[in-house]
Symmetry: C2
Subunit: 204 residues, 2 copies
């Protein structure tokens, strides 16, 4: 048995973050050496504390856990990455894997899986919910182009075509065209449904 596993916790909700720290603190072989509340603080903290495993929430201010994962993978490729999220969206799993994550956990999995996942990734294994993996494969890749995604994201708050055209520096007609193709690709009837479906799949 070697020294304890050094873990970083990145999660924006203090109460959840500290609770997870308490949970991991119960394990003899795991030590939470750093906690951050923002995605853009992850890389520096990982470097500073010589972290073995980084546990990253997706939804965070600064940047997403997935972006943070990609940055760590690029700069410090030996650090293991566990992505932890509230939402089991297939698209999230896909992007997390593309960013180089070693494990993908949803927060409604049993708590015991967290420490287990930390140990497994350190042993070189990958940890992925098989149901979610199947869903990700079944859904296929994100069918939307960059612009379609941007426009859809901008439309999500209820902005009108004119507002979208202004903020995105496009003509109103172009905005409508993008939304129209997005609506067709997602096989729905209007932009509101398109936003909902794209969100659910993790494509936004």
């Amino acid at each position: 048995m070697s020294r304890t596993i050094k873990v970083l916790l990145a999660e924006d909700q203090s109460m959840v973050r500290e609770a997870l720290a308490a949970l991991l603190g119960l394990e003899d072989d795991i030590e939470v050496v750093a906690q951050v509340a923002r995605g853009d603080e992850v890389l520096a903290a990982v470097r500073e504390h010589a972290v073995d495993v980084a546990l990253l929430d997706i939804e965070m201010p600064g940047c997403t856990g997935i972006e943070a994962a990609a940055a760590v993978r690029r700069e410090l490729p030996s650090v293991k990455l566990v992505v932890l999220t509230t939402f089991g969206r297939p698209g999230y799993l896909r992007s997390a894997m593309e960013a180089g994550a070693d494990a993908f956990l949803v927060k409604d999995a049993p708590a015991a899986q967290l420490a287990q996942a930390v140990r497994k990734v350190l042993a070189g294994d990958r940890v992925i919910d098989p149901t979610l993996a199947a869903a990700a494969l079944a859904d296929g890749a994100n069918p939307l182009t960059d612009r379609e995604r941007e426009v859809l994201r901008a439309a999500a708050d209820g902005s009108t075509n004119a507002e979208l055209a202004a903020t995105l520096h496009l003509s109103q007609g172009t905005v409508r065209n993008y939304l129209s193709t997005a609506i067709q690709k997602l096989a729905v009837r209007n932009r509101a449904e398109a936003v909902r479906i794209a969100r659910e799949k993790g494509w936004l």
Copy 2:
């Protein structure tokens, strides 16, 4: 110093729930005697385990933590109620208070406040974030009528007027009228914005 405080934890995400349990388990005077993942299991569990303080998440399957709080307050009025939520929505605070909650905490508050809140409510105090309380008062009460809220909620997924009319057993014109008045009351331009604002305020 009397016996330990018996706490129930109601939260649908296992990992978060068990992590919070670990956190509270670190306190000598607090014991988590029951955990449930659904709102509609709260009342029975509170009764069965002679709980002193119930810690309730709002978003849960079965019924919301607020509805569960109301039920406990009605049936077992001596039990203290702490509502814990991800979203600091003023309307949530208002409804929680109306349901008889003794404390209202948001999950991005420091973890230490959780145990403190448990002790304070047991001592007869109320625990409320002052910023949120101010926001709740500033926003005023929910301006939407029951029907307007129902229609807006049904419209949230992107349903069309015809679909809304069918599912709510109304005429299409009536649906449009309700949405129109809701849009005006919320001072927005379309149903999508109305849904977003109503959500943010906790009025949906």
